[in-house]
């Protein structure tokens, strides 16, 4: 009997004992699906984290100001980062390898328009921002150097804000909106860069708004530049370039309180990875116990099956089956049972992750390697726990087996 035929026979035997087989496979199903789900959710979260940290721009590195002294006489002290000017950033841009230097700031304000009210975050930018970032203009114009130089009270709104705060037939460009009781003129509408899951109205995300950073500084009290990021010509040397840029900036702003450094985002990801590895190992060990218990269940049911089919075994031996052939038959049966359990587990995991994707702020990613390991491991369980019953079956003496009532 070749393996394929044995597999078909095993499947029909499993089918003939549907309820029993499902109950037996449950431990395997739970074990395999648990591992796949956990890894899928972890991978999804990791990707989301990495995307957010790198701000979907893998070629950009932020420059952070790190304080030298955190404490003085036991008191925590806060050192303000030195003021950075646009001119200084222009000099940093001259560092070899630096493609762009983005200096931005931000402010919060309450926007009122058409008797609608929304809390908005305004990002303060200069014209570099539009060169470095892929901002798609839908209506009107971009902010320019003159807006910054002259503190123009102008804003750009994104498509989401336009949709939410403006009437469909209303002209947005040229409209005057109010933010914290001050009027601003809308000069352009750009396509929102928010990911689809954030494109909804709530207290925190109403849309995006861009203003000249000088205006933000004047109206909302932020430093003109409080966030700096460097975009490199070559992504491979991003952190070296970032550090060179940070050195240049430290040289220009020279302060004792601290220094600018290029923040290596991979550190955060590594930290998350080690946390996530701990979780994965924990869940995997529980899944391992589930597989062990499931395997014992398989062994138990196979022993029952051998006893039930004692006469069949005797007959098959009388018809010329060797010990090896009987052993093979029962081993294939238990492997089929556990592999089927593994496959159902994979299907179950796919279902759960698909449902979870609707509720989670990120999409779980099913790892094909984990799926393959799941199948191999469940098959392996079938071999390990099938050996004993199969061996018992193969050792039955044909005359005793035929006489068995």
């Amino acid at each position: 009997m070749n393996i394929w035929e044995g597999f078909v026979v095993a499947l029909s035997s499993i089918w003939n004992h549907k309820v029993r087989s499902i109950l037996t496979m449950l431990g395997i199903i739970i074990g395999v699906s648990a591992v796949i789900i956990v890894v899928a959710i972890g991978d999804g979260a990791r990707k989301q984290l990495a995307d957010e940290m790198f701000n979907t721009d893998e070629n950009a590195v932020p420059l952070y100001f790190e304080q030298m002294e955190m404490e003085e006489n036991g008191e925590f002290i806060w050192v303000d980062p030195p003021a950075v000017s646009g001119d200084q950033l222009d000099q940093v841009k001259e560092v070899p390898g630096v493609k762009y230097v983005l200096g931005t700031n931000s402010g919060w304000g309450s926007m009122i328009h058409n008797e609608k009210n929304a809390d908005m975050e305004m990002l303060g930018v200069d014209n570099q921002y539009f060169i470095a970032k892929d901002i798609k203009l839908l209506e009107g114009r971009r902010l320019n150097t003159r807006d910054n130089d002259s503190y123009s009270r102008v804003v750009m709104i994104d498509s989401l804000t336009r949709e939410n705060m403006f009437k469909d037939d209303e002209e947005a460009v040229g409209a005057i909106i109010e933010i914290d009781n001050n009027p601003y003129k809308v000069v352009g509408v750009f396509e929102t860069t928010l990911p689809p899951e954030f494109q909804q109205l709530d207290d925190f995300s109403n849309g995006q708004m861009l203003m000249p950073r000088t205006l933000i500084s004047m109206m909302f009290g932020a430093p003109e530049i409080d966030t700096i990021s460097v975009i490199a010509d070559n992504p491979e040397t991003l952190f070296d370039t970032g550090n060179a840029a940070a050195d240049k900036l430290n040289e220009l702003t020279a302060t004792d309180g601290g220094m600018y450094i290029a923040q290596d985002m991979t550190e955060f990801v590594e930290e998350f990875d080690s946390f996530y590895l701990t979780i994965t190992l924990f869940i995997s060990s529980i899944a391992g116990i589930s597989l062990l218990v499931g395997g014992i269940g398989v062994m138990n049911i196979m022993l029952v099956s051998v006893t039930e089919r004692t006469r069949e075994i005797g007959l098959r031996k009388a018809l010329g089956a060797t010990r090896g052939q009987i052993l093979g038959q029962f081993l294939i049966e238990s492997v089929t049972l556990t592999s089927l359990g593994g496959m159902i587990g994979i299907g179950f995991a796919a279902l759960i992750t698909a449902v979870a994707a609707m509720f989670l702020p990120f999409t779980p990613i099913i790892n094909p390697i984990v799926v393959v390991i799941g199948i191999l491991f469940s098959s392996f369980t079938g071999i390990v726990f099938g050996i004993l019953p199969a061996n018992k079956a193969s050792k039955l003496s044909p005359i005793d087996a035929l006489r068995y009532e």
Binding site: M1, S12, R311, A318, L319, G320, T322, R323, Q325, P398
Partner: protein, 226 residues
């Protein structure tokens, strides 16, 4: 041809040894039609098991076609059963989840015959035993006589030289039993060695030679004169 010389068989060990066969000498030539009779406990089933390679003798020599089979290991015994013996049992012993054709194919699976040839041979034999229209029926859908015909077709499928039937009519009514005996008689006419274990005189009467066992020894070995 099979030759048994001074075959003994006992079960148990030490002081609890129970002798079942106490020195059986028997020669059965190719193409013979033999009945083995005897009361229960006479050792006739044990003798049949040894002849059919289901069991090993404790002592004595059993040679098949001049070859001593005593030293055969389990795998070789399985092969001997598969190639030389066709078993027919009182309780039919068909595999309940397989249809008639698949039941007949089973021995061929163990001898490694290709699927195509298995189907051809199973179908031809089911036709021979008059069940061409029952090939895809499950055993539960067949009558007792039909089940025994399937079992006979299965016994024949590997073209063995010997058909070994243990009370083949024991579970059948007398009319169906007679049909089965006629089928076995026909097989003997075609040249098969047919050995029937029975306790019924009428069944033994179909055969050419009657061997009677009592207390583990042959007490009678006579030709049947028609």
């Amino acid at each position: 041809m099979m030759k048994l010389s001074n075959i003994t068989k006992s079960y148990g060990a030490g002081s609890l040894v129970v002798p079942v066969l106490r020195g059986v000498d028997l020669e059965i030539g190719d193409g013979e039609f033999v009945a083995i009779m005897g009361p229960s406990g006479s050792g006739k089933s044990t003798l049949m098991n040894i002849i059919g390679f289901l069991d090993k003798q404790s002592d004595g020599v059993y040679s098949l076609n001049g070859e001593d089979v005593k030293e055969s290991n389990e795998k070789q015994l399985a092969r001997l059963r598969n190639e030389h013996i066709g078993f027919v049992f009182q309780q039919f012993f068909l595999l309940p989840r397989l249809n008639a054709q698949k039941n007949v194919e089973t021995p061929l699976i163990y001898s490694g015959v290709s699927k195509k040839e298995r189907i051809e041979r199973a179908r031809a034999l089911l036709q021979k035993v008059g069940l061409e229209d029952r090939m895809s029926h499950l055993p539960s859908e067949l009558s007792g006589g039909q089940k025994q015909r399937v079992a006979i077709a299965r016994a024949l499928v590997n073209n063995p030289s010997v058909i070994l039937a243990d009370e083949p009519t024991g579970a059948l009514d007398s009319k169906t039993g007679a049909q089965i005996m006629e089928l076995l008689t026909g097989l003997n006419r075609e040249g098969k060695t047919v050995i029937i274990v029975t306790h019924e005189e009428e069944i033994a009467a179909y055969t050419d030679r009657i061997i009677v066992l009592r207390d583990g020894m042959i007490v009678e070995d006579r030709k049947v004169t028609a």
